[in-house]
């Protein structure tokens, strides 16, 4: 199988380039893209990419696979090549600075995450046991808390490409809504005020690239719609 990999080592290369590798998959099986990368690394130990859990939990191996963002560890090569098993093209997630090869600098992504204050805020005295929720209140967090911060969505979003310093991006907004929707959080009004400017939420143009790529099947566009409605209700 032909594997074309984006290479860039700022210490040696003046510009990025694509390098082709011919990889033989043992037994011709349908392995994951991450397994193919391991075989490429056997040929060239200098290849840099992130990975850790190899089972879609840690979110470290987000990359652009044949034009679509995804996690290498849970993307079978059959899916990436649409069944043709002919060629893999691997690039770093688009829109953020490349540190080396497939490794990107995610500072801006984390900065936006930090900005939405991704922790429970409650100004009432702590009870003797946990703060309880009804099953219905807990259910509201489904589809939100599962995000693994892989950045596949935000780096597929044109609005995030143009304004990564101002637009929170789908991943951060999904998490913003996760805390807005939490019955135990008492900072809802302040959280909404922080998001009411023309950039943080309203740069979303509803293109739904985020929904298209999320490897966990989450729906940031819907969460953004909920935030918009909450802002509308707060300010009308």
């Amino acid at each position: 199988m032909l594997v074309s990999v984006y290479r860039y080592n700022p210490e040696k290369d003046s510009a990025p380039y694509m390098q082709d590798f011919e990889v033989t998959i043992p037994g011709g099986r349908d392995v994951m893209v991450l397994d193919v990368l391991a075989l490429v690394k056997e040929q060239d130990t200098g290849l840099a990419y992130r990975r850790s859990c190899r089972e879609g939990v840690c979110g470290s191996d987000g990359m652009n696979i044949n034009g679509k963002n995804g996690l290498a560890c849970i993307t079978p090569i059959s899916e990436a090549t649409k069944g043709k098993m002919d060629k893999l093209v691997l690039r770093p997630l688009p829109g953020l600075p490349v540190i080396r090869d497939l490794v990107i600098d995610m500072s801006l992504f984390y900065k936006q995450y930090e900005r939405i204050k991704p922790y429970l805020q409650n100004n009432t005295p702590a009870p003797a046991i946990e703060r309880l929720q009804t099953p219905a209140e807990r259910e509201k967090l489904d589809g939100l808390y599962e995000c693994i911060l892989c950045a596949c969505c935000s780096t597929a979003c044109p609005s995030f490409w143009w304004n990564p310093d101002k637009f929170v991006g789908p991943s951060g907004l999904l998490q913003a809504y996760r805390f807005l929707a939490d019955s135990r959080d008492t900072s809802t009004a302040e959280r909404l005020t922080d998001l009411s400017d023309p950039f943080s939420v309203f740069r979303c143009r509803g293109i739904m690239n985020c929904v298209n790529v999320c490897p966990k099947g989450l729906n940031p566009t819907r969460a953004i719609g909920h935030i918009r409605n909450m802002l509308l209700n707060q300010q009308i």
Partner: protein
């Protein structure tokens, strides 16, 4: 909160609501005009002039004119903050847009009231 001095409303929600409401007005105005043109097969100058001479039509047209200016401003402001990364170029672009929209608005009112 992200702030930008050139944003009129200071609020993303305000811009968003303005964009939606003006779109509704523009859609109604367009549908009405298309409907009027379709239902008057043998249109003469007198009918066309008569339509615009009525006060309610002036109000409707003025609402559409203000709507298109507001709609265009929000849209152009957004485009400029997406694609123009140089602050100097961006402010010039925004001023040119605002200038054109202002001229169109005054000129449009002038035309409407001369009918």
């Amino acid at each position: 909160m992200v702030t930008s001095v050139t944003n009129l409303g200071r609020s993303g929600l305000y811009d968003w609501v303005v964009q939606r409401l003006t779109a509704v007005v523009l859609a109604l105005y367009t549908l009405f005009l298309v409907g009027f043109l379709a239902s008057s097969s043998d249109l003469q100058f007198a009918q066309w002039q008569g339509l615009f001479a009525q006060t309610w039509m002036k109000v409707f047209s003025l609402a559409a004119l203000i709507s298109i200016c507001a709609h265009a401003w929000v849209g152009m402001w957004t485009i400029s903050t997406d694609y123009l990364k140089n602050a100097g170029v961006r402010i010039v672009f925004q001023l040119v847009c605002a200038g054109f929209l202002f001229v169109y608005l005054v000129w449009g009112i002038d035309i409407l009231w001369s009918v």
